[in-house]
Structure formats: structure tokens, C-alpha cells
Point group: C2
Chain length 331, copies 2
């Protein structure tokens, strides 16, 4: 049975939504949750029925959002340190955390270690796009702020394999994020990376910012500084569009009625489409194991989906395929 170490203390809302997510996941799938954190708090949110379906590992410390990621290695009693350590020691198959993402990435990278051939892991996130069913995988969104061309090449390989194995795409296409589609476009980094991309399956060349959302490619590769900014800017745009809409709706009675009539069939569907809870968390690709980084504001549904993502990740053979592809390309 797959064992998932879960940082029960991480996340902006404490253990409650996390434990709830675990319960929802247990109701649908068979796996062993290993809950790491304050035993009493965990038990207080866990109905009797589920007590013998989970393992609890005590951790007395919690790394808070305001702490520095660099402290993570020293805080050995923290829930995230102990959860990562379970994967390192082979006592868990994956770790899921909605806590300090920098700390989780640092610990997963340094304590679990990298896959052979990977110089730096990348954080991948799913972006909704124009198509009703498809999504775009964007990486890196914040693990490596200063990348080398080789990093970007590895990100492309990992993204392609993840899209194939986890998003169910037969022949995923890959684009390199740039300031224009022409081969000659890009900054010094992407121009150098471009030359390495020929051996990435499905590589389609440079893509622009708009291509992340129009479904023209399945995987978009960039450095973590740019990816993080694009991710937050996109969330900002969506939130601004809806805020402005609400402001205008409030001012007009016909608009209020109109908005009510659109609620179920339009706004609810849109909300679902842009709701990260639907997509689970962001996998840290390139670590020798599986680490899923969930949004700090994760609700129970987001945690449930992150757990399912970890289970699928383990069943998919994504890591071994990445290793093989890198080895083949280097041969």
C-alpha cells in the first residue's frame, strides 16, 4: 500500500483542512496516510473511525510562512523536516505539504536528493487554458530563480514526461517561454537553452506569454523567477477581472439580475476552471521520490487532490522515465 507522508501542520489554516482532505481521500482510495505533527491536534480533527487507518508521527515544531527557507535544515523537529525524512528513509513513498514552500523544496532537494542526471529540481504547476478540457503545465514556477541552459533543458525533459505520464497526453508538445516566437528571440539564457532543446520530445520552439493560456503547447518551460512572476501575475489578472466585474454589477439592478442568471452555468464553471483546488498541488520534479507542494491556502479538496496526485505519481513511473530519457539523450 502506498504510504504518503503528510505535513499535518503546514498551511495557512492549520491542521483542520489537511486532516479533512486526508479523510476525503481515504473515503475514495486505499493508501496509508502518515500524518506528521502535533498528535493531540491531529487526533482532535480525526473521527474515531479513521484512527486505525492512519499513522501519526510526532513533530513538535512548525516552520511558519514568515520563517526563512534556509532555516529548514536546522529545524529537525519541524513537521515538514520529519515528513521529508520519512521519504528519505524509505518509510514513505511521497510527501505532501501545504506549508512553507521554500522550506519544503529545500528539504526535498537536499534530504531526499536529486534524480541521476538532474542538476536542479523544478516546481511544475498546471495552468487552466482556453480549451475546455486541456491544461498547460508550466515549469519552473519558483524552485530555481537563476537557471542555466542545462537546467531549462532538464525542465523540458521532466515536463514532457510528466505531461505524458500524469496528464495522460500521448504526444505532449513543449515550448520555451520567450519574448517572441521566432527562433532568434529570447534572452541570453533562453537562446543558449534553445540549442539544447532539439533532443526534447515534442519541442516546438519558442512560445510567448499568451501561449500559456491558449493551449498551443502542453508544456511551457522557463526559469523560476519568470515562472513565479507569470503565475502570480495571472492569478492577479483573474482576481482583478472578477473584482471589477463585481464592482460594476453592484451598481446596476439589471446587471445584478443578469449576474444571478449567469451564476450557475457560467461563473461557477469559470471558478472551477481557475480553482487550484481542482488540480491538487505542484510536483517538485527531479527529486528522487515524490514531493507535492500544495498552496498555503489549500482547502480539504486541494489536499485530497494533492494526495491523489502523489498516488498517481508513484504509480506512473515518471521518475524512471525521466532518468531513462536523460541517459538516452546523453548517450
Amino acid at each position: 500500500m502506498i504510504r504518503i507522508a503528510i505535513d499535518a501542520m503546514g498551511g495557512d489554516f492549520g491542521p483542520e483542512p489537511i486532516i479533512e482532505g486526508v479523510i476525503q481521500a481515504l473515503d475514495e482510495k486505499k493508501f496509508l496516510p502518515i500524518l506528521v505533527g502535533d498528535r493531540e491536534q491531529i487526533i482532535s480533527f480525526l473521527p474515531q473511525y479513521y484512527l486505525n487507518k492512519v499513522e501519526i508521527i510526532k513533530a513538535s515544531d512548525v516552520i511558519s510562512m514568515s520563517d526563512q527557507a534556509t532555516q529548514a535544515l536546522k529545524r529537525k523537529e519541524s513537521s515538514i523536516f520529519k515528513a521529508v525524512e520519512l521519504v528519505r528513509d524509505g518509510k514513505a513513498d511521497a510527501v505532501v505539504s501545504a506549508g512553507h514552500s521554500g522550506a519544503t523544496m529545500t528539504l526535498a532537494t537536499l534530504r531526499i536528493g536529486r534524480l541521476p542526471g538532474i542538476s536542479k529540481p523544478a516546481l511544475a504547476t498546471i495552468m487552466p487554458n482556453k480549451s475546455m478540457s486541456a491544461k498547460t503545465l508550466l515549469l519552473d514556477v519558483g524552485a530555481v530563480t537563476d537557471c542555466t541552459a542545462k537546467n531549462l533543458y532538464e525542465f523540458a525533459i521532466m515536463g514532457e514526461v510528466y505531461a505524458k505520464k500524469l496528464l495522460g497526453l500521448k504526444n505532449p508538445t513543449v515550448g520555451l517561454l520567450s519574448n517572441g516566437e521566432e527562433d532568434s528571440k529570447g534572452n541570453a539564457l533562453t537562446k543558449e537553452a534553445f540549442k539544447l532543446m532539439h533532443s526534447v520530445p515534442g519541442f516546438k520552439g519558442n512560445v510567448e506569454g499568451s501561449d500559456i493560456f491558449n493551449g498551443s503547447v502542453d508544456v511551457v518551460v522557463c526559469d523560476g523567477y519568470t515562472g513565479n512572476i507569470v503565475l502570480k501575475a495571472s492569478e492577479g489578472v483573474v482576481s482583478t477581472v472578477f473584482d471589477l466585474m463585481k464592482t460594476h454589477i453592484r451598481k446596476s439592478i439589471p446587471a445584478k439580475i443578469g449576474a444571478f442568471m449567469m451564476k450557475k452555468k457560467v461563473f461557477k464553471k469559470l471558478k472551477e476552471k481557475v480553482d487550484y483546488a481542482e488540480y491538487g498541488g505542484a510536483p517538485l520534479l527531479g527529486v528522487k521520490g515524490c514531493a507535492i507542494i500544495s498552496h498555503g491556502k489549500s482547502n480539504s479538496k486541494a489536499i485530497k487532490n494533492a494526495i491523489f496526485q502523489a498516488i498517481n505519481y508513484n504509480n506512473s513511473g515518471v521518475n524512471s522515465t525521466i532518468e531513462e530519457l536523460l541517459k538516452k539523450n546523453n548517450a
Copy 2:
């Protein structure tokens, strides 16, 4: 009277919307448009009444969107080359072009030249934000793909002055685009730039992608690679949100009626807010003169507003203020 050189041939839709924009501008303000391009075509779109209100300069060549910006310097008969040359030669006070933006930037930078103290000009664009009235100035959005820390510092100075002089803000605030708000966040470039920013009036520290749209600062500074990607990604998000909305509306009769009721008071207002035609063009800050780069898809309204922007630019003293501030900071 202010003389504005206008590339009459640039833009995706040929001379028609450009000449129409000039006519609309002439109906509202006094200035001398110097139209550069094919004389016959220009005259064919120009009613008799306006003939003696404009100057026409013949240009037999047009740089098309598929041409390389590097060719611009050699294409001396092109409309954009000749329009820029008018500013260089002191025969025009500003140039407005909706043509090949790379060519316009190259020509404006190399033929008109840079302001004293400016190492690289930056393209600045206005982004709508959450506030009903305010906007955010983002620069650079594509002039300099590989920046130095000094470039970013100069962009910050130029953005602050532009916001004060052209956007009517008394004490504009300035943020450095980064992957987190903490001082320690950023890539190698922005970390170095951060150290130079203390002498930028209104500097507020690092800002995130979402801050471009929530109105938390007035000016956001970044390198041209990142800015270009953020700009196009934001346009992509808006277009995707509206496309998805339309798809859902089409499937439900109540939603269709609801959308109709929201049309005038909500959707129209939103469209205005995100319509670049309202904002004119993007100024290339740092050139010894005034160059306004308009969107290739500019309609007549966008051209009219770009012309007004050029007039305001010339009346504002923005260039001399930038010079003075740089000199003062270096002293």
C-alpha cells in the same frame, strides 16, 4: 506648434486607421501631423478639408512585421526610418508608429540617441489595475531582453518621472518585480539592482506579479524579457477568461439573457478598462526626444490617443526631469 511624425504605413491594417486617428486628433487638438509613407495612399484616406493641415513626406518602403529589426538601419527609404529621421533632424518633436516595434525601437535608440545618463531606453506600458481610476506603469516590456542592474535602476527613475509628469501622480510609488516581496527575494539581477534603488524616489521594495494588477504600486520595473512575457501572458489570461465565459453563455438560455442584461453596465465597462486603445501607445523612455510605439492592431482611437500622448510628453518636460534626477543621484 508641436510637430508629430507619424509612420502612416506601419500597423497591421495599413494606412486607413492611422490616417483616421490623425483626423480625429486634429478635430480635438492643434498640432502638425507629418505623415510619412506612400503619398497616394495617404491622400486617398485624407478628406480635402485636412489636406492643408498636414505635411506629407514620401517614403517608398515599408518594414513589415516579418522583417528583422536589424535590417531597419539599412532600409533608409522605409516610412519608419524617415519618420524617426525627422525627429533626429529636429524637423519633428515626436514620432508615433504602429509598425514593427523592434525596428522602431532600434531606430529611435540609434538614430535619435539616448538621454545623457541613460544606458538603454525602456518600453513602458500602462496596465489596467483593480482600482477604478488608477493604472500601473510597467517597464521594460521588450526593449532590453538582457538587462544590467544599472539598466533597471534607470528604468525605475524613468518610470517614476513618467508617472509623475504624464500620469498625474504626485508621489508615485515604484516596485522591483520579483518572486517574492521580501528584500532577500529575486534573481541575481534583481538582487543587484535592489541595492541601487535606494535613490529612486518612491521606491517601495520588491513586488510580486500580482502587484501589477492590484494597484499596490504605481510603477513596476523589470527586464524586457520578463516584462514582455508578463504583458502577453496577462493579455492571454483576459482573452481566455472571456472566451471561456462566451462558451458557457452559449450553452444556456438563462445565461444568454443574463449576459445581455450585463452587457452595457458590466461587460462594456470591463472592455474599456482592458482596451489598450484607451491608453494610446507605449513610450520608449530614455531617447533624446519622444517615440511612441503603438500596438500593431491599433484602431483610429488608439492612434489618436498615441498622438495626444506624444503631445503631452513634449509639454511635460519628462526628459529634462529624468536627466536632472540622474545627475543629482550621481553627484
